[in-house]
Symmetry: C2
């Protein structure tokens, strides 16, 4: 791939695409019916089955681990966890092991001055709605290093090293630390200048359209959301300085190239500029935040040891599931997947089924006229480096139904009882349907009122959107729940300022 | 500790201290004799002994691991390594395991407008010269979390969370990946405004003095060098922008406060300003470098499994050492340490003894009038995340004495044969004397000539000093060899520009 083509305009081009709803190829509302059409046409079925009906999957006779006969895909094993974070100092649990780094990639292409994203209507057995909007490619490392043979995913060739694509964003990002052991995916967005054939089930969408679809429940899949979260809208140097590439200069250039305000953009240039922060307006500098994060990595211990699944304590295995004895957290189940389409595709696999709907929420508040996000330093057993930065609230709501407010995680009560005018965003979004069965989280952004307590727990800190985006660039700072929630917000903070 | 006191001048204050040689408390040349005095006064002795004479250390009868009876300090165990990086696809080796995060901390204090660093003359058994210049505090996690009792190191209280110190720099940094299994230390510099008592064996030095001492062989210890490497001299926003905190503004303020050019600073303001880079002058942007690094993490596999020391293949255990059958790499030895001073201190411990002098070298070259460093992406078994950024050359020179040029690591030949006028810096520096026995590396900075090949291997990239400093802020980007070499360079690039 080539180095840094158009480096000075990447962020602006993302911003313009993010503010664009108009798409001559496909209207946003038509995409919803197209997704339904894919569902209708293929008649997908997913049924829970007993473990013994799994094909090619079996429990290892010695360890009890659940494995695929090929040694590929993933395994379900056990971990023993000790930590001084939270209320439970020690437990064991089943966990998904998938050491290969997967690829989540989106192809973009500039058409008439607007960056379009090549998205896919993709079926995953665990999806609510079965078919959701996915990145151009979801591939395993074996796929893209061509170690094994097998079918190569469509469009993968554009992501391989010898291709002529231009890389816009490329970093490793973590997955759910409560469910995966140190799993990461490569999140990559490329730009292709040559002709890209449009295959059946694929669509060119503006970033603004994808953002719009995030206002619906369970339409945009998790893999899309995590990739979107790594998109920078502001160059770091335009944020912090005023050199020749400042946003206003860039916007000026853009106005010459394309008439921004002739497009379907209900926003003023001043509002976009208000998005630009100077570091003096931040409550804490990056060095302060790194110091805070370093302290947490010192303070909290996380000792995770792999154990055979058979040795996991307080979990019960039946014919149909492996579940916690108090029916908490999640269970491991098996499903049969088939479609009555031409390809007659069919397979069985294990999935993790949650015990209830989760909640992920950011509380945001203006300091120095700039929105800050209340970020939690959170320990999860699958974390690569002890702590990751997480949403203000991240939990299974059902687990706390019987609890008194004081026993709830910090701020859960505040979020659950926020008055409607404080809620900037609230939709249900699915977790990865290839591993999780109908798992969804209520994704909420709450604006804190003037009554919000300024005293916060030690493992919380306030950060601006631009600071969050800067940390996301580097490995293993923000967890997947925080990143996906941030993706939902998109450019909403600009619009939100008006309310 | 308090948040961000004097945040706008931290970098400038480091810069001024780095340019200051004059110290009313202690002349640089006197420090050398003071170190000698400490050596004379204490009469330290270190003797190699057979393993059976170790007190409180023993080989575990089952695993063969070398352990302290208290379970504290460190252990020597085995690892089995598989990788597709380099020429050897699989091997096993002894490795030091020390899961606790240690603290390497320096206290600074502003006196008459100059930041002084509180340094210590510290004896470590493996040190060449025995006594070297160390940070104010080297402590284990047990020390500073006060989990165990035991003696608390001097000055540690200034680093504890309830102290009134101001944190200037605080991040986790890796140690030698070829010798330690995923070991990290907290590198922290604080500023204390209250009175700090000066204990025997401690000295207040300017940063410029410490930099000067780095021109001598084996005087400034490794722990000091790694902490110094995390010092920022330029605010990122002054690098990339031109807002009200730009360097020239800051210098103006400083000139009002203290007369910079009345000090022992043989440098002009313009030369300092030439140190400020704008991102357009960089060969690659940060995003490009992250993309390069992501590709390496995907391309290279590193599979490290802990094994009992007894199962390490091709290593031989004798009464006196554990060594590779070809006498390569290093050996594990035991030493008896004692001092004929008042405290009558004495102990025994294992150390790692290298098979020869190593070499770490940066090749640097000006592109767009700005020096760029040729950085290597390097895999080492103890790395936390597969790849770290390493010096252009990092190896044991002796291992390649019999090799032909084409079999040598890239650029070793170029560095070894560089003509004197190309060598900007060359001294011998010691590795950590608490773990390594008289291990030293020739630290070299070579200016590439016009003949330098522009085609570089895929796992190399050019970066500016400011980009390196930015990556060092985050965890596990730059390895300890690269960081320590960078610390040696200090502000030399400004001076070097004149030659």
């Amino acid at each position: 791939m080539n180095w840094k083509a158009k480096p000075h305009s990447k962020e602006l081009r993302f911003l313009i695409s993010g503010l664009t709803q108009k798409n001559p190829f496909l209207k946003t509302e038509d995409l919803l019916s197209l997704l339904s059409a894919v569902r209708e046409k293929n008649k997908f079925f997913v049924e829970e089955i007993p473990f013994r009906k799994l094909k090619n999957w079996a429990f290892d006779s010695k360890s009890g681990n659940l494995l695929h006969k090929s040694g590929k895909f993933f395994t379900i094993e056990g971990v023993d966890v000790k930590t001084n974070f939270g209320k439970v100092p020690e437990w064991s649990q089943p966990i998904i092991c998938q050491p290969e780094i997967g690829l989540l990639g989106i192809i973009t292409k500039e058409i008439d001055g607007i960056l379009y994203f090549l998205m896919q209507a993709k079926m995953e057995p665990g999806n609510i709605n079965l078919v959701q909007l996915a990145p151009t490619v979801q591939a395993t490392r074996s796929n893209y290093t061509r170690v094994h043979g097998g079918k190569i995913p469509e469009y993968l060739k554009y992501f391989l090293e010898n291709s002529k694509s231009i890389v816009l964003v490329d970093s490793l990002q973590s997955e759910q630390g409560a469910r995966f052991l140190r799993k990461r995916n490569r999140n990559i967005i490329i730009e292709v200048n040559q002709e890209v054939p449009l295959l059946d089930g694929f669509f060119w969408l503006t970033l603004g359209q994808i953002q719009k679809l995030l206002n619906y429940n369970n339409i945009v899949n998790m893999d899309t959301r995590t990739v979107l979260s790594s998109i920078p809208f502001i160059r770091n140097d335009t944020v912090t300085g005023g050199n020749s590439n400042s946003l206003s200069d860039l916007l000026k250039t853009a106005e010459n190239d394309i008439d921004l305000f002739e497009m379907d953009v209900d926003i003023t240039k001043e509002e976009i500029q208000s998005y630009v922060l100077s570091p003096n307006e931040e409550l804490f500098g990056m060095d302060d935040i790194i110091h805070w994060f370093t302290k947490l990595k010192i303070r909290y211990e996380l000792d995770v040891v792999s154990i055979p699944l058979i040795e996991v304590k307080r979990w019960i295995k039946t014919d149909l599931q492996i579940r916690h004895e108090e029916n908490k957290y999640f269970s491991v189940i098996a499903v049969d997947v088939y479609a009555e389409n031409r390809e007659k595709m069919s397979w069985t696999q294990p999935l993790l089924k949650p015990q209830g709907v989760g909640i992920v929420a950011f509380i945001i508040k203006k300091f120095n006229h700039v929105y800050h996000f209340l970020i939690q330093g959170k320990i999860e057993p699958g974390n690569m480096d002890v702590v990751e930065m997480a949403p203000t609230v991240q939990c299974i709501t059902g687990s706390y139904e019987d609890e008194k407010t004081k026993d709830m995680p910090p701020y859960l009560d505040y979020v659950l009882n926020a008055s409607p005018e404080k809620i900037l965003f609230s939709t249900r979004q699915s977790e990865e349907g290839g591993r999780f069965y109908k798992e969804e989280n209520q994704n909420i952004i709450v604006r804190a009122g003037d009554d919000f307590p300024l005293q916060i727990p030690d493992n919380y800190i306030w950060m601006t959107m631009n600071q969050i985006k800067e940390f996301i660039k580097y490995n293993n700072y923000f967890n997947v729940e925080a990143r996906c929630l941030l993706a939902c917000l998109g450019l909403e903070l600009i619009r939100g300022d008006r309310n």
